[in-house]
Symmetry: C2
Subunit: 651 residues, 2 copies
């Protein structure tokens, strides 16, 4: 059995790093971590490795609560002679550990794995003896953060870079301009940030700081300036760039808007040349994202000069105009040594072959692009604002099953921020993005969902210690006092983007300070109780602990009444709170039938399931997730009740 | 009724600031806080007020979740013509608020009060209409932080300064040297920090940063360099200062140690003159603390040269030598324009009259000093490491009841850190210190404990949003997974200092990473359940919600089993966890007797009380606080059971 161990089984044996390593061979014994712990670096000339070791040692101290004074080299980080990517090898035995990598990035990943392996043992903190060989499945493992819809201060970016490093993501795709805000200082065109940002923008020094901070953590920064649509905020300061006369104001609503750059004026491209000249110097990465998505052709259709221009050039459709626009922009980027990335919509005849397509439309769009020889990045299925559970994202795989497979660079989780502020972004990105990170790093056949959630629980603690979620308690505290709100929040899940759009008229000026904003898209408590209910339902007699835990939770729900229901933030929660309490009573009743041997009326389970269905309708833009464990119990009772008597006798 | 309102009733009416203001006259109506909120400052030339208003506006945005874009002046901060202390007046009506103060400190306090008054109303966030007149009862309201026993990084100091400002404390007493570490950079005598600090010290730039940070928040910084005892760390670099030959090493144990400065050598005073010359220039405050406490006379008694010196000077006892030493030091301080503070022990004949006595021995020591005309600061009763509940500290009042009363400057909470690290210090200082802050600020007759705890709950949320307690979840997470540890922690209270000393051999190298370190001295959950139990016990029939809440808590306890009991950090908790579960069963039983009308065997309550007494014995250096609510129920049942039947009939 021991010889058959694969990555899949690792998490069941000891603290499991996430993403799961490619090869993990556990051995007997463990390495003790105490205050004498010291690290030696051999053969690396990259100062990033020394800086990472320094942060790593501080982290071990924080993680264990042991003041590390050093003195005994326990971990050796050495430069490997073979390989040139992000791979690493980690050999842990009972007297020392050796981490070998050929690049700084690989060394950083190995340190992270080591830190995640530390666990409290019988005598002290320890790392299990193990041989690990690990490398990424895809070279592009990104997170896109939209800082235009809602402004994200520097500390949000830093905190998320720390979190990205913890799950071995390596690309921050920084969405820096859109209709609702232009977020970078341009010295060449200062009215961009002066008039287009409400004062919320990153100075060039701050941009350099973020790039250095990211690079220290093995992360590249790819900026996105979305053109020719999604550009209202540019036009506040520079209305002549637009295809219709100004003046323009910063867009406050959400959606796709008409303002679009003028493709017919040479001045537009002169501006872009100067602007991109400045920005390509500021952002050192080889890749540069120019968006190109969701162009509303209204302004083009209504402009006489643009229509004349299109006619002269024999452009039959707005798509042709857009193709022209993006190809001109691509030429400018190439002049500055950059490779253009764009969303699906840039795929047109004539697009230069080195362009990279980021697909939000789906795997078919990616396959089409690959068939034409373009490299691609998958984001379809990784949209965090769709509020899907981690298991949904986990099942989405970027790989194409033909020879064009090698053209897929990887994938990117996308955090669009219409309904996400600096205060709520942590719970929208994390921990779900860790599941995406594992999909992009670990072997394709690491797909067991229960095992993924085990690791997700572990990585959630790492993320908390990084400071992710630092605002969450405050969000509940502002709505009301006491523990009741916490109980209700743990039982609830935020609606997806469409549900929120339908619920009320949102703009960028509507505060995201309601219960729905404090509630995560996927409740770990509900998930835990669902697992517990599954165990209890499958074998009630052997599930004393599970039944006790369910009884405690259900009893808490029955007693849960909001202590401050009389204000504008909590009033909408009254029906939700009442539903939770009623759900608790149904749950307690179900436990009686399941565990105490009593029998319900034959149609009782079905009736209750229907009641729960009513409770699961959206209230205050959230959904009661807590119905799931109760449903499991009811279904089990239903099966037991309808089972023929002779089978009962057989047991 | 409305006309009789005093400060005491205020918290029952609306969000209650802590410390409670001197005079609060509620009026009808409220002022709405929305995104147009803006503040205008009139007549202040102190840039601290502008900086404070800037922080204040950001805080309102954070507190409400509303992006404040400004535009409408809602709050006017104006310079008052009368008064010169920390007092302020705040007038809030339904269209605007006026805050008047004659000093920047007063304005800062008024802004804090305003922020604490914001609450969610029926239509939005609001501040109730009110007229407040407020001023401090004592001018010296301090917190001492010992950074020698355990090193406290800058962020700990900053976070605690923010928290101090929130409760209107105005003196940080910074204990910077002791046997276990010398924590400030001296350029004149660099071996002090180089050899005496394990590398953990504040640079002079950092000291200046802390002083400016504190000053911006209306807080003075008074440094303490404890002499002539508590000086081992000085002697590592400068052994000649000691009364016995070196070499010396940094002390790792806790207690009172022999190394003491040599009073017989003039070089000692020459050193002190140069050192204090440097430090008095670094710390601008008029007051300077030289300790003077707990001198072990062994080295003096065993030194021939010191004995000769004492004989020549006709010093009969070590006390006389100490008096001589401190008076020489006082002369040096005076030369540099400073007023000396010392602990009780400096009170000797010959002490210059401007010295200030900080009393750790008790009110009698303070009264004795005052009788001799010395000013005093009370710290007896405010020792946070004694792990008393907030109510204990709240009952300690510095005021003397005779004409020497005006000599009492105020009081100081003392955070000695033998058993407190940078990770655990927040839960040791806060929220209990808020109760001490109220004692030092609010009227003497504001003494209602239940009302204080109401405000303490409110200020706890303010403190959490400041970042106080940022490490607490991580401390539990390192011990084990799941919610069970959280439930156990909420039910437990850390032992006081003596209990910990007796439990195991602590030194500065023993990690403070166990359950006891994660557990606060006073559990808010237990306090809340105790109140709930009191209500339920006094009138079970009218306490449906209370009984439901108690049932939920007790059920949770019964189900609470540690999920990871098999490591060196959690193993010691097994009996504690078992006790809590058993306590839950007793509680559930008690609810049956109380609420469901069943009758126990006559001796059942007494038996159970005895069982609980056994459960309350210390385990793993903590005590089960959760027994208190159950005791209340048992006592009520006991009274009901033993009540003569005829009284029952009368009801």
């Amino acid at each position: 059995m021991k010889l058959l161990l694969s990555a899949f089984f690792v998490p069941l044996l000891f603290s499991a790093p996430m993403p799961a390593p490619w090869k993990s061979m556990p051995a007997v014994g463990h390495l003790t971590i105490d205050s004498s712990f010291a690290v030696e670096v051999r053969g690396f000339s990259d100062p990033r490795v020394d800086a990472a070791v320094h942060r790593f040692t501080a982290r071990i101290a924080r993680q264990t609560g042991i003041p590390i004074v050093g003195g005994k080299t326990i971990l050796i980080v050495e430069s490997a002679t073979h390989g040139s990517d992000e791979s690493y090898q980690l050999d842990i035995s009972s007297d020392k550990a050796v981490l070998a990598a050929s690049t700084a990035e690989g060394a950083l990943h190995g340190l992270e794995t080591f830190a995640q392996l530390i666990e409290p043992g019988h005598d002290g903190f320890q790392v299990p003896s193990v041989h690990i060989e690990d490398h990424p499945r895809f070279s592009w493992r990104g997170l896109m953060i939209d800082c235009s819809r809602h402004w994200m201060p520097l500390e949000v970016i830093e905190r998320n870079l720390d979190a990205m490093a913890a799950v071995k993501l390596n690309v921050l795709h920084w969405h820096l301009s859109d209709d609702q805000g232009f977020r970078v200082e341009s010295k060449r065109f200062p009215k961009l940030q002066q008039l287009g940002s409400d004062g919320h923008f990153y100075t060039q020094d701050e941009v350099r700081h973020v790039i250095a901070y990211a690079r220290d953590r093995g992360i590249r920064v790819v900026p996105e300036f979305d053109i020719p649509g999604h550009t209202t905020s540019w036009f506040v300061g520079y209305p002549d760039l637009a295809s219709a006369p100004g003046p323009y104001t910063i867009e406050r609503k959400w959606g796709i808007f008409q303002p679009t750059m003028d493709p017919a004026r040479e001045e537009t491209f002169k501006f872009l040349d100067q602007f991109l000249g400045e920005m390509t110097a500021l952002f050192p990465d080889r890749y540069f994202h120019l968006g190109g998505d969701e162009v509303d052709p209204t302004q083009w259709n209504q402009s006489a000069s643009i229509q004349t221009f299109a006619h002269e050039r024999h452009f039959a459709t707005p798509d042709d105009i857009e193709a022209y626009f993006m190809q001109r922009a691509q030429v400018i980027l190439k002049k500055y040594g950059k490779t253009m990335i764009g969303w699906d919509e840039i795929l047109h005849p004539g697009l230069a072959p080195d362009a990279v397509i980021q697909s939000w439309r789906g795997p078919q769009a990616l396959a089409d692009a690959a068939k034409q020889g373009y490299r691609g990045i998958l984001s379809f299925g990784y949209y965090l604002d769709h509020m899907n559970p981690a298991s949904f994202h986990y099942a989405v795989d970027p790989q194409l099953d033909d020879q064009s497979s090698k053209l897929i660079l990887g994938g990117e989780a996308c955090m669009w921020t219409e309904f996400t502020s600096q205060e709520t972004i942590d719970s929208r990105i994390w921990p779900r993005t860790a599941a995406i990170a594992e999909r992009l790093w670990s072997p394709r056949d690491v797909t067991n969902v229960a095992s993924m959630y085990d690791r997700l629980d572990a990585i959630s603690r790492v993320l908390t210690s990084i400071g992710v979620g630092v605002n969450e308690q405050r969000m509940l505290d502002r709505i009301g006092r006491g523990a009741a709100l916490r109980v209700l929040a743990d039982a609830s899940e935020s609606l997806e983007i469409q549900g929120r759009r339908d619920a009320r008229k949102y703009t960028s000026l509507v505060p995201l300070n309601r219960f729905v904003d404090a509630v995560p898209p996927e409740s770990p408590m509900v998930r835990h109780l669902t697992q517990t209910a599954e165990k209890a339902a499958s074998n009630p007699n052997a599930s004393k602990a599970q039944i006790a835990e369910l009884r405690a939770a259900f009893t808490e729900w029955t007693a849960n009444d909001l202590q401050m229901s009389d204000n504008f933030l909590s009033a909408e929660l009254i029906p939700l709170s009442r539903n939770l309490s009623n759900l608790g009573f149904i749950g307690l009743r179900a436990l009686e039938f399941l565990a105490d041997g009593k029998s319900p009326a034959p149609d009782w389970p079905a009736q209750q399931l229907q009641v729960i269905e009513g409770m699961e309708k959206p209230v205050a833009e959230v959904q009661l997730g807590a119905g799931r464990p109760v449903r499991i119990l009811l279904n089990a009772i239903s099966r037991n009740t309808s089972r023929p008597a002779e089978i009962e006798v057989n047991k």
